[in-house]
């Protein structure tokens, strides 16, 4: 009996939390005519026309460009963050380098509203010609990702037995050699987790995308809002819904593949944060 109530509560919570996703999914399969006569949760005549429209859309609203931008920006923001954080994490754990200063400083960065850096970054980018480039936004995503990536990697390296380092040192392997040949392979799961986390975070970012891009490097979170303003009359809700589904799908898929890892990582981030 109690378990039946539990399932009911679960169903209610899942429905409420995922409600906008359900509505958007349903709407994306409705024709414009059906949306105006039947805005409810039931589809009378399912159609793929919205997705066809989205994927063949004009050059003014180019979903493929937005998706490619988001992918490039997120990939760069993730890879660069790991490349920078991995050696630093190694130095922090094994060399106790900046353990009391650098690490807390970067960890606390997670709690600083990044909007306070937005204006000088905008001006810097204007000066260096990085406005509206994937590279520029990729750099910003690297900043955004570094704190959590560093926390994950520091935790992972702390768990690697020191004997592994020692054995390699006796064999005459250099520090960078140990990092590349011994540590990195051992903590590969943590590296993958941090990359997936970073990718999702960067894909979903909006504020810097809005400020630093105008056309060439627009990411999908910003591009999706263009579909709400497009085409004179009202919003084409079916098309907008299809765009939102396409934009939300990649991180959702990654999340579903990874969700067992994700709760653990969040815990680690929360404890340190």
């Amino acid at each position: 009996m109690l378990n039946a109530i539990r399932w009911a509560v679960f169903a209610l919570a899942a429905f409420a939390m995922n409600f906008p996703l359900i509505v958007t999914l349903v709407t994306s399969f409705k024709s414009a005519r059906e949306i105006s006569t039947n805005p409810g949760l039931w589809i009378n005549a399912p159609t793929l026309e919205n997705y066809v429209t989205v994927l063949t859309v004009s050059d003014r609203l180019n979903i493929f460009l937005y998706l490619a931008n988001s992918f490039a920006i997120a990939a760069m923001g993730t890879l660069l963050a790991v490349l920078l954080a991995l050696p630093a994490a190694y130095a922090i754990v094994r060399g106790r380098f900046g353990e009391k200063t650098l690490l807390p400083l970067i960890v606390n960065l997670r709690a600083v509203p990044l909007v306070i850096f937005a204006i000088p970054i905008y001006m810097m980018f204007q000066f260096m010609g990085l406005l509206d480039t994937r590279f520029g936004l990729g750099l910003v995503m690297t900043i955004v990702n570094i704190p959590l990536v560093l926390i994950i990697l520091v935790n992972a390296i702390s768990d690697v037995p020191f004997e592994l380092d020692e054995a390699a040192m006796i064999d005459g392997v250099s520090r960078p050699g140990i990092l590349v040949k011994i540590i990195a392979p051992v903590i590969r799961p943590a590296i993958v987790t941090s990359m997936i986390f970073g990718f999702i975070t960067a894909w979903n970012e909006f504020l810097f995308g809005l400020m630093l891009t105008t056309s060439k490097a627009v990411p999908v979170t910003v591009g999706a809002s263009f579909f709400f303003a497009a085409s004179g009359g009202g919003v084409q809700w079916g098309v907008a819904a299809a765009v939102m589904m396409v934009g939300a799908l990649p991180p959702m898929l990654l999340g579903l593949v990874m969700y067992r890892k994700i709760s653990g990582t969040m815990m680690a981030g929360a404890v340190k944060g």
Partner: protein, 288 residues
């Protein structure tokens, strides 16, 4: 020997430190200089130091304090709501997750969606003609409020934010709850503690550190909210939903008031630094 080690470690950490100095340290300095300068888009390269006029302008701007007040209320309310609901779900539904994890995957799905997209989705959900919520409210009750109007926008945004981020709090509490040793619960059961008493006396105290962390993280995220509020109401709804992040964004991009925007950034920077410094000291003392 010791010094060569030192150099080696320093070299390994140098790329990260250099990157952060260039990408964050430099902007921070630019912020400080511009905040005490006469500055416009024409004079970006040679700011004229002019004292604290920008700070005076910000601190006497009623809109700045309104934005602060919005962010504070928004952060506090959503953090408390998310943690209460998340904790309730994690504890009450715990037996469902014993041997299966797919229900957790369903609950955490909203976390994967960009808050900006989630906000846009609510534009559809709440739209007076195309949205299901007004549709059903009209059908069932013959009335539907204007969700994003000046009177209800604040609460609509609270609900939107809470529904998306409750899963975050839920996940943390779920992990903390699973980490409580089974023997403790059994011992409590033998001592006759049941249901609520067991939760109140044993489980909740053990989860208090998680609760504190979850409240803090959610408060910070709520305080600096931008994405979903911006796409849902912008600075509309009579300016009643301008968060501090939106205030800074608009001062810069819409009013071209660079000095004001930068001064507001510095104020926010100092405030968050002080809060974090205090929290860190507090946490360190607790650990001792």
């Amino acid at each position: 020997m010791e010094t060569t080690h030192r150099t080696e470690w320093t070299l390994l950490a140098t790329p990260l430190v250099a990157f952060l100095l260039v990408c964050l340290g430099f902007p921070a300095i630019v912020n400080l200089i511009y905040s005490v300068s006469e500055i416009s888009f024409e004079t970006l390269r040679n700011p004229q130091i002019s004292g604290f006029g920008n700070f005076v302008a910000v601190l006497t701007d009623e809109a700045f304090w309104r934005a602060n007040w919005f962010s504070l209320r928004f952060g506090l309310l959503t953090a408390v709501l998310e943690c209460l609901i998340g904790l309730g779900l994690a504890v009450f539904l715990a037996p469902l997750f014993k041997n299966r994890s797919w229900p957790i995957a369903i609950l955490m799905l909203p976390l994967m969606v960009a808050p900006a997209l989630m906000g846009l989705m609510y534009r559809l959900v709440l739209h007076e003609f195309a949205g299901p919520v007004p549709h059903y409210l009209w059908a069932w009750f013959g009335n539907s409020p204007s969700f994003l109007g000046p009177n209800s926008a604040f609460w609509t945004l609270i609900v939107v934010e809470t529904l998306q981020w409750t899963p975050f709090a839920f996940l943390l509490f779920h992990m903390a709850y699973q980490a409580i040793p089974e023997e403790l619960r059994e011992a409590a059961a033998i001592d006759g503690a049941t249901g609520f008493a067991r939760f109140w006396r044993i489980e909740l105290p053990l989860m208090l550190p998680t609760l504190a962390a979850a409240l803090l993280i959610r408060f910070i995220d709520g305080f600096r909210v931008f994405d979903n509020v911006y796409v849902l109401t912008g600075s509309g709804a009579g300016g009643s939903t301008t968060s501090l992040s939106i205030y800074i964004y608009e001062a810069f991009f819409k009013q071209a008031a660079i000095g004001k925007a930068v001064a507001a950034s510095v104020v926010l920077f100092v405030a968050s630094f002080m809060v974090l410094y205090g929290l860190n000291r507090f946490a360190r003392r607790r650990r001792r």
